[in-house]
Amino acid sequence: MIPTEYYLFLGTGLFTIGVIGVLTRRNVLIILMSIELILNAVNINLMTLSQYFKSVDGQVFAIFVITDAAAEAAVGLGLIIALFRNKETVNADEIDLLKW
């Protein structure tokens, strides 16, 4: 079948893209999307390893991660809306109020 390493490489690749997105992108909504990407990359890894180890634990954990990602996205959007109301911007590099 498809070797397990290919799924893991996919997961790693998506994770890396997600991290780079979080660290690099300016628009906070894109950062949120990147965070979702990371979480989905983690989900793929969980599923892969569930299949490899012939265990259901991985899949159960993946359901938890999806729920968690949904809640987190709701909170994140709430934060962005509150931020936008105060600062009129969605650029991450303009939010430096805690700068020394």
Binding site: T24, A92, D96, L97, L98, K99
Partner: protein, 676 residues
């Protein structure tokens, strides 16, 4: 009464104390009653003491001594010549013929002048102050004449000097008056310095200051003193006398002293204070008798002063100035007498002079009072019918001072002239100077009379309306003194005029015991001749004055025009004041300026410098505080800022940076675990 002899000076002292503490609140009548009554009481007590003294001993030999209190119990000490001295200075009194005469003159004439002052000062401000000072003067003068030692006499000496200053400057708001007071005191002080040196020399020579002890020591045959010591003592004492009694060179204060009220001029500068010098020389007769040099000096200065002052008096226009110079001149006569060894004659003249000079001043005060303050004789004239009593008392005094017999001045002045011609230390030159001065005296006195009372009236119109005779309080002393000027001389009627010479006999015990130097041998005729010569000269002086000021008034002006230079020199008193100013007064003022400059520059400069350096040290502290202390604190802060730089730059506030740091940390851990 003699036991309470100390009351005589205490009565006027009480008056002075009352006036000077309470006088301001007392009405004038009370002030008069107290301040004239108390000296009157003094006079009566003095008369009582005198009468008692007469009965004490046969030839008035006994000296009544009354020590009151030991002032300086200095005790015994060794003198340089090996003997022991015992300097116990007492506050004490002694009464001998000499101090009797002085005491009676001072209290008697003083009392009359106090009575006169009631009328004269009636409308003046400071009435109580005047009488307070006058009483204080009486106290000091009585201490002077009744003292039994040189130091007490000096206390009185200084006291009269003080009162003289206070009274000359009585109208102190007038600059000329306060200047005159200062001048009198300062010039007097110079004499006093010499007097004090003489007293100090007496302490180391005799070891005592009592009159009795010094007289005994001086007259004892066992006296062993160094060469010029006695002469030095006598000369120093005499310099003190020139200051107090206005002789050359210290007479300059007396004419200026006329700024004071007229009773002051009469009492202090005619009858009493200025005679203190003569009294002192007479009191020290035992010392002077040991030093012919000193006697010669006294006689020389006396004669020189007499003619010097008389010449200045010839041309003065202020009535009181003429009298002032006359006083200086007559004092010269008294010193001339003492200097030729005729101490009795000198004291006799002192007494008669007190009568007629006081009268002259008081009467001229009456004239000034009548003319509402005018003192310039050029603005007087034709007053004899308007103020008759003043006129004839003044005329009596003028006759007395000119030496017209049988008035008092004739006997005393004649005795002096005879003694200076024929006396033990006499000299023809001294007699000649005295004789010429007598002529000048007669001239200027009658010039005064004629200019004031005779001739045409030169009185300004407004003044003329107010001419009035003086009140009785002023006239009674005038008449009394006139009577004394007429009869006062009879107590000393010389033998040559068939008199009893009571005065001379009375004073003998004081002056006998001195080494006897016989009179020059002259016949009786010489004495009569000289007496007659003096009288003729006096009459000649009066006649010339009559000619120049009554008959032909233009003559005096023509003479002044002819002898302009001489006239100007005499009018300006030989420019002595100006010379003294240039030589001494301005030099002292320069010293004062130099010292003031030193004070301002150096002393004040130093104080200011200390202030400046304090301010500068404050500056230094400020700089230290600002640069060093604050600098340290700032550096500390700077260091902290530098050291915190790494920690600071991390806080960018950007969430993505923080995420990157987390990622870096995770990767570092991963690398570490993968490699191990």
């Amino acid at each position: 009464m003699l036991d309470y002899i100390w009351l005589i000076p205490i009565f006027p002292l009480a008056g002075a104390a009352i006036q000077l503490f309470f006088g301001r609140r007392l009405p004038n009548k009370v002030v008069s009653a107290v301040s004239v009554g108390l000296p009157g009481l003094s006079f009566l007590w003095a008369v009582g003491c005198f009468v008692q003294f007469l009965g004490l001993s046969e030839n008035y030999h006994h000296v009544f001594a009354k020590p009151l209190y030991t002032w300086l119990p200095a005790g015994a000490f060794h003198l340089s010549n090996g003997s022991m001295g015992n300097l116990n200075v007492n506050v004490g009194m002694q009464l001998d013929p000499l101090s009797c005469v002085m005491m009676l003159v001072v209290t008697g004439v003083g009392f009359l002048i106090h009575v006169y002052s009631i009328g004269y000062m009636a409308h003046e401000g400071g009435y109580y102050r005047f009488f307070g000072y006058l009483n204080l003067f009486m106290f000091s003068m009585l201490v002077l004449v009744l003292a039994d030692n040189y130091l007490m006499m000096f206390v009185g000496w200084e006291g009269v000097g003080l009162c003289s200053y206070l009274l000359i400057g009585f109208y102190f708001l007038r600059k000329s008056a306060s200047d005159a007071g200062k001048k009198a005191f300062i010039v007097n002080r110079i004499g006093d310095a010499a007097f004090l040196l003489g007293v100090m020399l007496m302490v180391v020579t005799f070891g005592t200051l009592d009159f009795q002890h010094i007289t005994e020591a001086a007259r004892s045959p066992h006296l062993q003193v160094g060469g010029g010591i006695i002469t030095t003592i006598c000369i120093l004492l005499f310099i003190g006398a020139t200051g107090k009694s206005a002789q050359i060179p210290l007479y300059v204060w007396l004419p200026d002293a006329m700024e004071g009220p007229t009773p002051v001029s009469a009492l202090i500068h005619a009858a009493t204070m200025v005679t203190a010098g003569v009294y002192m020389v007479a009191r020290s007769n035992a010392l002077f008798a040991l030093s012919p040099t000193a006697l010669a000096l006294v006689a020389g200065i006396g004669a020189a002063t007499a003619i010097w002052a008389a010449s200045i008096g010839l041309v003065q226009n202020d009535i009181k100035r003429v009298l002032a110079y006359s006083t200086v001149s007559q004092l010269g006569y008294m010193f001339l007498a003492c200097g030729v060894g005729a101490f009795t004659a000198g004291i006799f003249h002192l007494m008669t002079h007190a009568f007629f000079k006081a009268l002259l001043f008081l009467a001229s005060g009456s004239v000034i009072h009548a003319l509402s303050g005018e003192q310039d004789m050029r603005k007087m004239g034709a007053l004899k019918s308007k103020i008759p009593t003043t006129y004839w008392t003044l005329a009596v005094a003028a006759l007395a001072i000119s030496g017209i017999p049988p008035l008092a001045g004739f006997f005393s002045k004649d005795e002096i002239l005879w003694q200076s011609f024929a006396g033990p230390y006499g000299h023809t030159l001294l007699w000649a100077i005295g004789w010429i001065t007598a002529g000048l005296t007669a001239f200027y006195m009658f010039r005064l009379i004629f200019m004031t009372f005779w001739g045409q009236s030169r009185v300004p119109h407004e003044v003329e309306h107010h001419i009035h005779e003086s009140p009785r309080s002023m006239l009674i002393p005038l008449v009394t003194l006139a009577a004394l000027s007429i009869v006062g001389g009879f107590v000393g009627m010389p033998k040559s005029l068939l008199g009893g010479e009571w005065f001379g006999k009375f004073l003998d015990p004081v002056f006998e015991g001195n080494p006897v130097v016989p009179l020059h041998e002259y016949g009786q005729g010489m004495e009569y001749f000289l007496t007659g010569l003096s009288v003729v000269t006096a009459i000649a002086g009066i006649s010339i004055a009559y000619l120049m000021y009554v008959r032909q008034p233009a003559l005096s002006e023509r003479m002044a025009a002819v002898f302009t230079g001489l006239h100007r020199v005499l009018l300006h008193k030989y420019y002595v004041d100006e010379i003294y100013d240039a030589l001494f007064v301005n030099r002292v003022k320069d010293l004062g300026s130099a010292l003031a400059a030193f004070d301002l520059g150096v002393v004040d400069g130093g104080v200011n410098g200390v202030g400046w350096s304090t301010r500068m040290s404050g500056e230094f502290t400020r700089l230290w505080d600002t640069w060093v202390i604050d600098g340290l604190v700032n550096v500390l802060g700077f260091v902290v800022k530098i050291l915190s730089w790494p920690a600071r730059i991390v806080q960018t506030g950007l969430v993505q940076n923080y995420a990157w740091f987390i990622t870096m940390g995770v990767m570092a851990f991963m690398v570490y675990y993968l490699l191990h």
